[in-house]
């Protein structure tokens, strides 16, 4: 399918935003400005942009450790302050969780961001309850959990898909199969390199999607969400993609593999070609967009850096709702 040019350009901008966000973040991380750990979503922008495009603020998504991009898009789209995701990663008081959560625990219910859980895959269970609440209240919302191929190893994968199936819950499983869990190739860690093979037994629709083709990804998410909103129960999308960076990754992949994915299968390059092929925008138009986005991200980084650190005494707030911590 072919998307109209406005949609395609918007998605291109979103993808660019993700990439610029991640590159900027990585630069700052290397400078020592970002504490903790870093996992970026470079290479997976099409999947994230497609999801962000279709999820509403009244839906829920559970982002994983590579989802700074989708978090920032949701924040920007629904509240206009994507910089608060950046600030969170810098551990600042202006962050979406006032610095308590960081990269692995950024959440904001107002934009549908239900927060990462750095125990990989645990929210495959949590997502059931969000979906159940929608169902019990008759709300036509979608609860989406974004999981990597490696995370599929967790037992909750089974408990979750099974319960979603028997209760016909409005869950979108968005499995981002980038081929590796840290150093473990997907075909070595799982009985099948196609995760859908493990998901089909639960009896709801499962699809493999080209996760680097923004049109295919956009279309698949649209189809899945329509199915779910119509009350037909869960849907499983497996996005085949590949991550450029990420800690502990490079050394286990061959130069051919790297070249193939970075040069032939770069989702941004592929999207750019599609746009130019429609003949309505020029390369310069796209470069202008890129420059704008880049500048915005730098402004976000500046905002984060200029933001105050949290008040240390806040460290004991919100352990219990309504009760102070006594020790």
């Amino acid at each position: 399918m072919t998307l109209d040019i406005e949609t395609l350009v918007d998605l291109y901008r979103d993808m660019w935003l993700i990439r610029a966000f991640e590159f900027g973040l990585e630069r700052e991380f290397k400078k020592g400005n970002v504490p903790g750990m870093l996992h970026t979503g470079v290479g997976q922008e099409a999947t994230q942009a497609a999801l962000a495009a279709h999820l509403q603020a009244s839906d829920a998504f559970f982002p994983d450790h590579r989802c700074h991009g989708i978090n920032a898009l949701a924040q920007e789209k629904h509240q206009g302050d994507g910089e608060r995701i950046m600030a969170e990663l810098f551990g600042r008081a202006t962050g979406v969780c006032s610095g308590k959560g960081g990269s692995l625990h950024s959440a904001n219910p107002k934009v549908g961001n239900f927060g990462d859980n750095a125990v990989e895959g645990s929210y495959m269970a949590t997502v059931l309850g969000v979906a159940l609440a929608y169902q019990m209240r008759g709300q036509p919302n979608v609860a989406c959990c974004i999981i990597g191929d490696g995370t599929v190893g967790r037992g909750e994968f089974h408990e979750s898909l099974n319960m979603a199936a028997i209760w016909k819950l409005p869950v979108l499983y968005a499995c981002v199969n980038n081929g590796y869990a840290i150093s473990m190739p997907v075909g070595k860690g799982h009985a099948s390199a196609d995760i859908v093979d493990l998901a089909r037994g639960y009896g709801f629709p499962c699809e493999i999607v080209d996760g680097n083709d923004i049109e295919a990804a956009y279309d698949a998410v649209q189809r899945a969400i329509a199915h779910i909103r119509a009350g037909n129960g869960p849907y499983f999308l497996e996005f085949k993609t590949w991550r450029w960076q990420g800690l502990f990754s490079g050394e286990f992949r061959s130069p051919e593999e790297v070249k193939y994915w970075k040069e032939d299968r770069d989702p941004l390059k592929l999207a750019r070609e599609k746009i130019l092929a429609q003949g309505k925008l020029s390369a310069e138009d796209l470069e202008r967009i890129e420059a704008e986005v880049k500048a915005e991200i730098e402004a976000w980084i500046d905002f984060a850096k200029a933001s105050p650190m949290p008040d240390p005494a806040k460290a004991t707030a919100d352990v219990y709702v309504g009760w102070e911590v006594t020790a």
């Binding site: 969780c97 308590k100 625990h105 159940l132 909750e156 979750s160 219990y320």
Partner: protein, 329 residues
């Protein structure tokens, strides 16, 4: 608890009343767990509620403890008030991550933006030959977990009032129901009321020694107190009721008065609740204590099947009496 009218009810009936009242009062309250529907649960606590409230609000689940807690937490994030049943407390290890890393931390790590007001009802405790996987006291597994609330009633009236309070509370509550108490009877007020969390009860006033106890051991302590009264020893029994975060004030006030303390808890002694209470009493009542705090607790073993073995390792009235005698020396 100012209600005039009370009726005699079992612990199970009192819990059932609490659930019924909570379900009737708030459409956000619902229940989920294994065999809690038509069957009414392994111990009958949910009996009749499926017929009254239907499939959607009294939800039988598959044997998937992690999914049960996950579903509870997720729905609570959107304002539902799930009451989950984990059939035996021993199985809570299957959803330990869900409780400890997600439910307990969510409010904090997301900077107050989400709450996880779930109640996890679960049957704990030994004494019936249930063996190593159906008899444990699990409070020790969660003592070191900030964000978790542990509630542990010892009477039917408190079971009802504390369960209603737990369902209304905005924090994740693990609600411990000692199996040996399910059939005990007591006066239970009619209708709706709550018993405050985080507030211990003086189950029996006394002046010579304080026994801080939980669940079944409250009854053992009361029996011990009655027996020692004949010897002229006046025992104050404190029912902790909320184990985490607990009411140190009531405990310390009593120990300051009596100068002697015994802490009684069914779980293994090492690293358990008794240790925490003993440490806090030691810190806060150092100059009041006339004798070292005595811990009355289970021996440091799993729970064996054969009744003679089980009886040997679990504390009862005799062990409480021995504990009291040790601090009266």
């Amino acid at each position: 608890m100012t209600q005039a009218t009370t009726r005699t009810r079992t612990f199970v009936q009192a819990l059932n009343e609490a659930l019924d009242i909570a379900m009737a009062r708030d459409p956000n309250v619902y229940m989920l767990g294994e065999d809690i529907g038509e069957m009414g649960g392994d111990f009958g606590v949910t009996r009749g509620l499926w017929a009254k409230y239907g499939d959607a609000r009294v939800r039988d689940t598959p044997l998937s403890e992690a999914a049960i807690i996950g579903a509870s937490v997720g729905s609570a994030m959107l304002g539902m008030r799930p009451v989950a049943e984990i059939m035996f407390a021993d199985f809570i290890g299957e959803c330990y991550d869900q409780l400890v890393n997600n439910a307990a931390k969510m409010h904090y790590m997301f900077d107050g933006q989400f709450k996880a007001p779930i109640v996890v009802r679960t049957a704990c405790g030994g004494g019936f030959g249930g063996g190593p996987h159906h008899s444990q006291s699990v409070e020790g597994w969660f003592l070191n977990v900030p964000g978790i609330v542990l509630v542990a009633p010892s009477t039917p009236a408190d079971a009802k009032g504390l369960l209603l309070a737990s369902i209304e509370n905005d924090n994740p509550v693990i609600f411990l129901e000692h199996k040996a108490l399910y059939r005990i009877k007591g006066e239970v007020p009619e209708g709706y009321y709550t018993t405050p969390l985080r507030k211990a009860a003086v189950a029996r006033a006394g002046s010579d020694v304080t026994v801080v106890a939980t669940m079944k051991l409250v009854h053992e302590a009361l029996a011990a107190a009655a027996e020692l009264e004949k010897e002229g020893v006046s025992v104050e029994v404190i029912d902790l009721r909320t184990i985490r975060p607990y009411d140190a004030e009531t405990v310390l006030e009593s120990v300051r008065k009596t100068g002697r303390a015994v802490v009684a808890n069914e779980a293994p002694k090492i690293g358990g609740l008794a240790a925490e209470l003993s440490a806090t009493i030691g810190e806060e009542c150092f100059h009041d204590l006339k004798a070292p705090v005595a811990r009355v607790a289970g021996l440091d073993t799993p729970i064996p099947f054969s009744l003679v073995l089980e009886k040997y390792i679990l504390p009862g009235k005799e062990e409480v009496i021995a504990g009291i005698r040790s601090v009266m020396k």
